[in-house]
Every structure is written in structure tokens, then in C-alpha cells.
Amino acid sequence: MKALLTSFDLFVIALAFVIMGLGLARRWALWREKKPAGIAGNWQGLMASVLAHRGILDRPAVGLGHLAAFWGVAIPLLVIIVAQFGFIIPQAPARLLSLIQDLAGAALLIGIVYLLVRRLGREESEGPSRTLLPIILLLVIAISGYLAAGARMSILGTGEAPWSSPFGWLFSLIAPASPVFMQMMIRLHFLAVLLLIAAIPYTFMRHAVASPLNVFYRKQGPRAALTQPTLEKGAVGARTVDDLSWKQLLDAEACVACGRCEEHCPATISGKPLSPRKVIRTIREQVETVRTQGKSSGNGAALPLLANDVTADEMWACTSCMACIEHCPVAIEPMDKIIDMRRYQVMGEARLPSEARPMLRDLEIYGDVQGKGAAHRADWAMHRDVPEIGRSANPGAAEVDVLLYVGCSGAFHPRNQETSRAMAKILKAAGIRFAILGSEECCCGDPARRLGDEALFRRLARQNITKFEQYQVKKIVTLCPHCLNTLKNEYPELGCRLEVVHATEMVTELIREERITLKYPVADKITLHDACYLGRYNQVYQPPRDICRAVPGAALEETERNQEKGFCCGGGGGRMWLHENIGENINVVRAQEITATDADLIGTACPYCLVMLDDGVKSLEMEKTPKVADVIDIVADALG
């Protein structure tokens, strides 16, 4: 093969790489200048994703097709590079190598043909036509390679070991025994390879660079964390693409438009105009316009507004359920961009759907989402002997093991108040020394943050943090997964690092340690609804299940979409306070799915889910409406 490389060939090869390099450099000039210094990469994740296709294989058929095509290119490429060093290889391993080459080529051929076939007749959203050019190039590469090998075999005869090149042998049956033909095929083969290399930055193939890079720089730390705008410096979210961070732009570059995010997005599924894929594509298109028009003089005045292409209906439809992030094969996070756009609407433009305004106003004035006021915050515990930390004789953590952070729902919503009382009962039964903040607690800030009012979130969070510090709180148990996520993953940004657990985690522990025993049966068949903020955000999947299993006489039946694939109740991301007047109601969609399990009790571990599903299930008007309960309620009932 070495002999084939004339200086002209070398020139062509170099040209291809130069074209590719230039293209990549130009393509990424925009985001490169934003790259923060010292950002850490993740080799392990990269290897798992590239070599083993972790994530991509979640969709088995197309994942395998891609895997085959990937290795079908990678192996021969490696072999050719190694071959350039001209090692003398003994015959047996050489034959084996040849076999591997041959099989890799076959894998490529099969993979590519599959990808091509499934693309035919699909709509743009499922198989974008931009992928056609690289696919055809790859097809040419595979076939010309085989024809060249086949021609060589026809000329030289199959030799002693046709097994070392079975597909080449197959092709030798149709390839003419002509050296000219063989040369032509070899030329075609290499031309196609070089074309493909040169085309990487300009076609869909750039995902071969951008997507691994994105996986490499996958966000570290808490899952699906939002960006932290420097409000003091006037950063108020994303007005144009210029306001997005380096990683956010890389996200947009890495998207292969596979549509998996969209397939799991509750907003898309229930017929809202929002599609996370489209959000990412919009950002990419805007970056491209900026690139072609040249970046305007610094202040971004001439850049198109993100809100021009992402409408309010789209922006406000997101439930922040994180499904898009969970299912993206290349670690893209559409959600944080949506929240950044909301931030600009709220903090930059003072624009917010009018139905959500009273809630934010209540948060501002009263510190809770219902506007009932701090004085009533402990009303749920009235006459129930629940100690308030600030009113005990010796305020301080000394006599308290754990602080029960109740949250607005648990404190004010009649249904969720039951859960708070249930939790108090359980903690007492287990003999745990706990306390609540009572009137000194305020909202954790999650609703404000998801609705884009970062400033209000910080104010509420600081208020809580001051209290935690004042009473030297060491450990917190929360009833609401949103509080859990905020306290555990978002307060550390503001300098408050505490041990925070969810009620279900704590109760599971108590059951395991046999500090409480569930004695009474409560239902025959329980099914579980996974709360997004508990499951996907905080990976707490098992505890609610363990609890349900510990209930005597109850069978646990999973819903069709569960755990990582769990479907949102529609109440997160501030959606609880927004009208839902486009498409179906998400909670009804979910309720239909859950009731298909025929369970008589639906367990959940989130106050929002409880309320949303309760509404959803009731609106189905079934003959026998299953009961919706928090697993904490279930435990309290089973305690007797």
C-alpha cells in the first residue's frame, strides 16, 4: 500500500486535512473565544460514549446501525494508519487482520444501508436530509473498497486463505480481473475517504467532532444544573445567542437532531409547540446567521433575538422535567437554555404570563407561593406537638438531629398538609428528634428560579440559609423533591452545603433499621409515579419502591414509563401556576397511563405530582377512581 502513496497523493491527503482544519477553525471561532480556561473534561465518559456507544444504544436498532458504521470506519482507518509504518507482520496475524478489516467493512456496509433505508420516506424531523451526503460517501467508500479487493483477488486468485477476506471474495465474483479497474476503485476509494474528511466541518459529519467534544465536556456537578448569571454585572439571561455560554453553544453544535429529546418531552407529547430539539436547532441556526453576517461590534445589537424564533408559548411550556437531558445521546441540555430565555423575559423585559404574576408577588411579599404568610406556615402542625426550632427553650441544633423542611406545598396545600402530618407521625414513631422552622421558613425559591426570576430565588435562598446557619442545622429532610433539589444542589452555589435527604430516603432507612414497622395493609396493588426532581434530578428511584414493597400485602406494579423514562406530571418548572390551554393536559396523559396499570393506589413522592395526578385521575371519570397518595401518607397509614 505504501507504494501507492505518490507525492501527488500526499498532496491531496494534506489538502483534505487542511480543508478540514480550516473549516473546523472557522466553524468554531465563535464559541472558541468564549471557552473558559481550565474547564475539565471527562475521558471516561467520552470513551464509554464513543467506543461503546453508551446512550446511543438506548434506541437499539439505530444505535447498532451507528455502532456498526462507526467501527466499520474506525478499524480500517486504524489499520491503514498502522500500515503506513510498514511493519513486517507474520502471515497468520496478517490474515486475521485482513479478516477483521473485511468484517469491519461489512459492518459499515450493513450499518450504512440500514441508516439509509430508515431515512427513506421519513420526515425532516426524523431523518434530516442533510445526512444524505455523508451516507452516500460512506456507501461509496465501502463498495469501492470491496470492489478493489475483489478485483485484486480475481487477478491474483483467492490464494490459500479465502476465509481471511470472505466479503472480498464475494465481490471478486462480480469484479472484473482487470488491474485498471482495480486501480480505479482504489482511487475512488481514497478520493471518497478524503472527500469525507474534508467535508467534516461543512456537513452533518461535523457531529463526529462536535458530539464527542460535547460528551467530553459534559457538565460536571449536580445533574441538569442551571447556569448562574452574574446578576450584579447585568447578566439577565439569554437575549441573543451571544448571552449563551461556551458549553451552551457547543451543545447546539453537537446536536445531531436525532429527536430523542422530543420523543420524551412531555410538552411535545401533549401537543405544545415546544420541542427541545427545535430549541437547540434554533440556537444553532442563529449562530450560523451570526457567522455568515459577521459578528457585530461587540454589543450584540444586530444579533437576532432568541425570542424571535422561540415563542413565548414554547418557552413557557417547559416543565423542566429533564427528560430531554436524560435521553440525549450526546449530553446536550436543552432545558438550561429555555430557562435562560425565560430569565431574559422576566428580568430583562419584565414579561411574564399574567397568571403567574400573583404567585411571584406572593413570594416577594409573603415568602410563600400561596400568599398565606409566614405566620400561618406552621398551621398544619397545630395541636400536634411538632417542635419549632426557634421557639424551643434552647434554640440550637444540640437537641435536634434533623430539620424537617416542610416547603410551601406541605405547609399550605390541604392535600400536602396531610403528608406533612404523616411525616411528623413517622418521625415521632421512630423516635427521631426533629424540628421545623415554622414561621421562620420561607419558600426554597424553586418556583421563582424555574420561572426565570433568579433575583427573587437568591433572596429567598439567602433568607433560608441565614436561618440554617443561625440554628446550626446539620441535616435536613425535605418532603418535596423540588425543595430537595434546591437545598441540596443549588444552595451550595450560594455557600450553604448541608446534608439534605428526601423523606422517602429517610423513611426507607428507618424501615431497614426496623425503627418503624409497617403493620397494616393499605392497598392490594400500588403503582408508582416517579417525580422528575426526585428521580432524574437526584437519582432517588429505589427508596419509594422499597417503601411500597415494605407495605404488607401490597403488590407493586410499574407503569409503562418509569424511572429514567418516567413521564412528568406537568407541574414542574412553574407550570403549576401557568395555564395549560394548548394541546392535551399533561397530567391527564399521565393519569391515563398510570390507570392502565389497574392499581388501586397511586403512590408518588412529590406534592406537585400528587395534586396534578389527583386532578388528572379524577378528570378521567373512571368507575372506580384509584386513590393518589404520597408514599409518606402510605407509610403513615400502614403504621396504624
Partner: protein
């Protein structure tokens, strides 16, 4: 044109969870500090005028110490140009206690002098305040300034050059009146208008803004309508009405426990759309909202 909006900072006490009779059973956390909501509505009307016409300045005018500073600055951030403060320093700190506030006679005198020194063409104030509920200050202010006064307006439109304004006021029971009024004038504003939000940039500006002191000090009119005693309602055990016997046992118990009535609001209509429509029609007819078509039969 200069519009002055009077903004009262109040402590709104919404609960009584205390145990001590000395504090009237009111604890710190039983109240919130805010700007009187009627005054917020007044500001919104002023800002709407400012949005629609050029050359309009909107100034906030407050009296006494900054007890609700955060909320007042938020008001400033929604679009007012200035914030003036009367008696920033020499009012007692306890002015948040409604009884210690100057009487409406005295208040209106100070406000009137401030308005004069600020050359306000139009003065807007809330119809009443959440903590006192007097509803006098606006009228007295107009009296002292010898200007026309319209109470409880809900909409404000600036007419052309002849110095006239058109206001809509609520005359109670849903009756509305459109009134034309000559400027300068004083209006008091009722609730009802949708308020705007401030953006962060304006908020940051407002947070830095130093309130400007204004003439209003010095010899003020002696009080004439002084409040002598203020009785808080005695803290009573929560009155829980007997639960509705039509409800489920569960709901009834919940009603007793939470102390609130979740009253049955009506019938839930089920069935096909057609039968639901019939149900609605039947309801409207039996309750006299629709004329029964019996005469046709």
C-alpha cells in the same frame, strides 16, 4: 407634566398568632411590610399615562420612615422617575403602628405643602390604606390645594392639549362613571388595574437611588381628628361552621380540622357534550338567568 403618586408604606398585619395581650397577640411575623396596594394601582395608572405621552414625569411621594423600603424601591423600579420623602428622619420609628400615625388632617397638610413645592400637576393616591382604611387623605389634600377631586378611579386617560383628563370611576355595585376633569386635580385610585413588573436593571437602579427629601417639614397644621383608641378584635377561637351534611365524612372531618369550608359549589355535569349543554341550560333557566321558553310551548 408632573404626576405625583402618594405611596404609603404600611405594615399589613394579617394574622394574630401571639400569646401576649401586651402586643395585642401580634407577633413580628404576623405582618408584612409593603406599599399600600391602592397606591400601587395609582402608580400603575400614572405609568400608563407616561407610556402613552411624552414629557411626563412620575414622582413617588412617601411620608415617614422607610419601613417598607424594599417594596417602595420596587415601585420606583417599575417606572417612576423620582422618589421624594417627607419627614424621613423626625417621625418616630413606631409610625408603623397605625395609632401613632399623624391624623389625616395633619397628613394632608404635609402632603399639600410637598405637592406645592414639587409643582405637581396631577396627584394620585390610593382610595384608602390597608392599615387605617380612613380614605380621607386624598379628599383633604384636594381641599387644601383647592383642586377638583375624583374618588375611586380605575382608569385614567389624558385628553388633548386643553388640560382635561378623562377618568373612569367605580360608583359601587359595578356601576361605572366616566368623568371629565380639569387639571390640576387630585384623584384617588381603586384597585383593579393589572400591575406591571420591574425589570432587573431598573431594580438595580432603584436600589441605589437616594430618596430625595422634600419640603413638608416645619410647622404643620395641628391635628384635628385624632384617633384615641384602637381596639384589636379579641383573639377568638376559630369559628368553624357545622360541616355540610351532604359532604363525605372525609370532607367533613377535613373541614373541622382545617377550619375552612370547602363548600360544594355546584353539580358536576357528566355525560356527553349534548347532555351537559342541556344541564347548563336547565340550570340557567331554573335560576332565572335565562328566560324560560315555556311560552313557546
Amino acid at each position: 407634566m408632573h404626576i405625583i403618586v402618594c405611596a404609603k408604606q404600611i405594615r399589613h398585619t394579617y394574622a394574630r398568632t401571639g400569646t401576649s395581650p401586651d402586643t395585642h397577640y401580634i407577633e413580628d411575623w404576623d405582618g408584612v411590610y409593603r406599599v399600600n396596594p391602592h397606591d400601587e394601582a395609582a402608580l400603575e395608572l400614572a405609568l400608563r399615562v407616561k407610556d402613552d405621552h411624552a414629557g411626563i414625569t412620575v414622582s413617588l411621594l412617601t411620608m415617614g420612615p422607610m419601613i417598607a423600603e424594599h417594596e417602595l424601591r420596587r415601585c420606583l423600579a417599575t417606572g417612576a422617575d423620582n422618589l421624594y420623602q417627607i419627614d424621613g428622619n423626625n417621625a418616630p420609628d413606631t409610625a408603623q403602628e397605625p395609632i401613632d400615625q399623624p391624623d389625616p388632617w395633619e397628613k394632608s397638610d404635609r402632603l399639600a405643602r410637598a405637592v406645592k413645592s414639587l409643582n405637581g400637576d396631577l396627584v394620585l393616591c390610593g382610595k384608602e390604606s390597608l392599615d387605617k382604611g380612613n380614605g380621607q387623605v386624598g379628599a383633604l389634600l384636594a381641599h387644601r390645594l383647592a383642586r377638583p377631586f375624583v374618588s375611586a378611579i380605575t382608569d385614567l386617560g389624558l385628553a388633548t392639549s386643553d388640560g382635561q383628563v378623562q377618568v373612569q370611576r367605580s360608583a359601587g355595585r359595578g356601576v361605572r362613571e366616566i368623568i371629565a376633569c380639569q387639571l390640576p386635580a387630585v384623584f384617588s385610585v381603586d384597585l383593579g388595574v393589572d400591575l406591571r413588573l420591574p425589570n432587573l436593571k431598573r431594580r438595580q437602579w432603584a436600589d441605589e437611588y437616594p430618596p430625595r427629601p422634600v419640603e413638608g417639614n416645619g410647622e404643620s397644621a395641628p391635628p384635628r381628628i385624632v384617633c384615641k383608641h384602637r381596639f384589636q378584635p379579641r383573639p377568638r377561637p376559630k369559628l368553624i361552621p357545622a360541616p355540610d351534611s351532604r359532604q363525605h365524612a372525609y370532607d367533613r372531618i377535613m373541614q373541622l380540622l382545617t377550619g375552612s369550608t370547602v363548600e360544594k359549589k355546584g353539580e358536576m355535569l357528566t355525560g356527553s357534550p349534548d347532555s351537559q349543554v342541556e344541564g347548563i341550560l336547565a340550570f340557567l333557566k331554573t335560576n332565572g338567568f335565562l328566560e324560560s321558553d315555556r311560552s313557546d310551548e
